[in-house]
């Protein structure tokens, strides 16, 4: 079918400032709420909440939940749920801990802190997480057992396999090279962090220009140049601001001294060195980029969203929705294991209760971040921001000295409130999903 009469492109009607910027209003709302939250806590804690030290800690505490939340977006978009993520994290962590502290060093005779150990341990952990996820996905997709039931079972099963393997004991200390992935023990330093930040800005701006050029080339409507400029400015400031904050948290003098002593050097008097970007945060950023690419620019992502929007239509369009379910849960399992790497490295040990309640945090992060439980809608960046909001709320309340029961009451209320506001917003704007 070739028709030559192409659709004319209508002239743009007058639109509001926000519409012209084509910014996601939901996202702005969430950022607004987050900023108010931060400022509020900052006042209550006499400026401690927004100190570089706290922001640094907040960032590395968020990573584990945020990584899993990106996968939960896919799961929920497909109209499923995964209650087993904390359990999968725990068993992957247990296996990786055993591999790097017992199996490889003693049984295989590689010795402690062998440069191969961390790689092998992680490879095994990621495979286990992926396999568990794929197995659960198979039960859901091919055997039609509801995801709620499969993963509720998994919630009990996987964590307790971890318990069986480790006899409930804390395993550690973990491999020295492995610990680098946990956050504070592996940071890029100031200069490298700035470089990474600047490269990131360059790539983002290039991508935006390329996308704009593509639209203009095809003769599609594009937003005005000034609006594009403002968005580019915001992106640049956000990236560089983030690097600046992480760079301005200095490594404590005592620790710095020890680092110099370890190299057999003497620390110059009055030296100040910032931590910079933690490797765990880079892992999160890489995960976010890959997952966003998958969601928006691959067939896999397109099919995930189509299936969430209308499973029958997806099936009738020739999409193998059963296999798709296996893939989505396998991705989720992989990300749980990746989170297990970051979480256990951050704690420097595998503990029996690692990742407890993470399933709730992860689901809450995705939902607060705008993933619709009805399926078909959700964004990766939203889920990460949701994880950050949850973590800020929790750390902030702890810093202010709110009692533990009250903390939970607040977190629970915020979850419900966030979804209620989202529904009101969607009603107002008339979006059905």
């Amino acid at each position: 079918m070739t028709e030559t009469t192409s659709q004319p492109i209508p002239s743009q009607p007058k639109r509001s400032l926000f519409q012209q910027l084509e910014l996601d209003v939901r996202l702005l709302g969430m950022i607004g709420a987050f900023v108010i939250l931060c400022i509020g806590f900052n006042i209550l804690t006499d400026g401690r909440f927004l100190s570089p030290r706290n922001l640094f800690n907040l960032t590395i505490q968020t990573v584990s939940v945020a990584i899993m939340a990106t996968g939960m977006v896919f799961v929920i978009v497909m109209r499923h749920i995964d209650l087993s993520v904390g359990g999968v994290l725990a068993v992957s962590s247990a296996v990786m801990a055993l591999v790097q502290t017992k199996f490889l060093p003693t049984y295989l005779g590689l010795g402690f802190d062998n440069p191969l150990t961390w790689i092998i341990a992680i490879a095994i952990g990621l495979s286990i997480g992926t396999l568990i996820g794929a197995f659960q996905g198979w039960l859901i997709g091919y055997q039609s057992v509801p995801a709620f039931i499969v993963t509720l079972g998994g919630f009990l099963i996987w964590r307790n396999y971890g318990w069986l393997f480790t006899s409930g004991q804390t395993i550690g200390p973990l491999d020295k090279n492995f610990l680098v992935l946990g956050g504070v023990n592996g940071t890029m330093g100031e200069a490298t962090s700035w470089t990474i930040g600047i490269v990131a800005v360059g790539i983002s701006l290039w991508a935006m220009v390329a996308s704009r050029r593509g639209r203009i080339q095809h003769g599609f409507p594009a937003k005005p140049a000034w609006a594009e400029g403002i968005v580019m400015g915001i992106v640049t400031c956000t990236i560089l601001g983030f690097v600046w904050i992480l760079n301005s948290y200095n490594i404590p003098t005592r620790k710095l001294q020890r680092m110099f002593e370890a190299k057999g050097e003497v620390m110059p008097e009055g030296l100040e060195v910032g931590y910079g970007l933690p490797i765990s945060v880079l892992i999160l950023i890489a995960t976010a980029i890959v997952m966003t690419l998958v969601a928006r620019r691959t067939r896999l992502g397109r099919y995930i969203f189509a299936t969430g929007g209308n499973p029958d239509a997806a099936e009738l369009s020739g999409i193998n929705t059963r296999l798709l379910t296996v893939k989505v849960f396998a991705i989720m399992g992989f990300l749980c294991a990746l989170s297990a790497v970051v979480a256990s490295a951050r704690l420097q040990n595998h503990t029996n209760d690692i990742g407890t309640l993470d399933e709730l945090r992860v689901i809450a992060a995705a939902v607060i971040g705008g993933t619709a439980l009805a399926g078909g809608a959700g964004t990766i960046y939203g889920a990460i921001l949701g994880a950050l909001v949850m973590q800020s709320l929790q750390s902030g309340m702890a810093m202010v000295g709110v009692d533990a029961p009250l903390q939970n009451i607040v977190v629970g209320s915020v979850l419900v409130l966030a979804v209620w506001m989202d529904i009101q917003y969607r009603k107002r704007t008339g979006t059905k999903l």
């Binding site: 192409s6 691959t298 969203f305 239509a313 009738l316 369009s317 020739g318 059905k432």
Partner: protein
């Protein structure tokens, strides 16, 4: 595309050529209900066969067997004389069967272009989906189908019933179908859009595509179809040449379930 192209569907039938599709003795039941009960229909290249019948007669169920949405309990499908195995919609696509479903089967959260290419996305050399290329193609084809269509960047949930139907039609005709199934394609369309679909059917017919057209409008069937098969309560009442019958004959077949030839006999 040689000499046979010039033959009309009528000549082909007279010559006893192998039909493009044969649905033979198809049975489908849901629980105890015989939704389709030993029904046989066939279709030649360049022919439009109307499927008529009351609500719940089994028309949609019958064509869903051909489109791979349902599995038949017994019966046989032949494409160009060869037995075809169609167990899911992917199989149907390999036989170049395209379908406009009564329910449209659109993913409401995606835009028109994504729906048009769902399952068959255009990709860049890197294997990533090429949204710009798909939107450009979508704008082209919609231009010939529904000139008032503007909403290319909104999800199809924001479209009117007729606009959604246009997207579903565009999807079925874009991919060089050989066998086209249209289940009430104009149910939601305005008069102008309906006219455009009628012209489209004539054009596709001229290209040698075989079309099953389900429609409750007897006049439209009289105008567009070469033959009509009427179903009642899951069974085939009969198949007639449109040239041999009147509107009233068709209506009485639908309502009374009587074949005019039988009545005459």
């Amino acid at each position: 595309m040689t000499v046979s192209e010039t033959k009309t569907a009528k000549q082909r039938r007279a010559d006893g050529d192998t039909p493009l599709v044969e649905l033979k003795d198809i049975c489908v039941s849901f629980g105890g209900i015989h939704a389709v009960d030993h029904v046989s229909v066939d279709l030649h290249p360049g022919e439009v066969v109307g499927l008529l019948g009351h609500n719940g007669a089994g028309k949609s169920t019958l064509i869903k067997v051909l489109s791979g949405a349902y599995q038949m309990d017994s019966g046989e499908i032949r494409v160009n004389g060869d037995k075809a195995v169609i167990t899911n919609p992917r199989d149907a696509r390999t036989y170049n069967v395209e379908t406009i479903y009564q329910t449209l089967a659109l993913a409401d959260n995606l835009d028109a272009a994504s729906n048009l290419f769902l399952g068959r996305e255009l990709t860049t050399p890197l294997g990533l989906v090429d949204d710009s290329a798909m939107e450009a193609e979508c704008r082209k084809i919609m231009g010939g189908l529904n000139p008032n269509f503007r909403k290319f960047s909104e999800p199809v949930s924001a479209l009117s019933g007729g606009q959604r139907q246009s997207v579903a039609i565009a999807r079925a005709v874009y991919f060089n179908a050989k066998i086209l199934i249209m289940d009430e394609p104009t149910a939601a369309l305005g008069p102008q859009e309906t006219q455009m679909v009628a012209e489209l059917i004539q054009k596709l017919k001229a290209q040698g595509i075989g079309i099953f057209l389900i429609d409750h409008d007897v006049h439209a069937v009289m105008e567009l179809c070469d033959r009509a098969s009427v179903m009642k309560n899951g069974q085939l009442v009969g198949t007639v040449n449109i040239d041999d019958v009147t509107d009233d004959d068709l209506l009485s077949m639908i309502i009374l379930g009587k074949n005019p030839s039988q009545a005459a006999a």
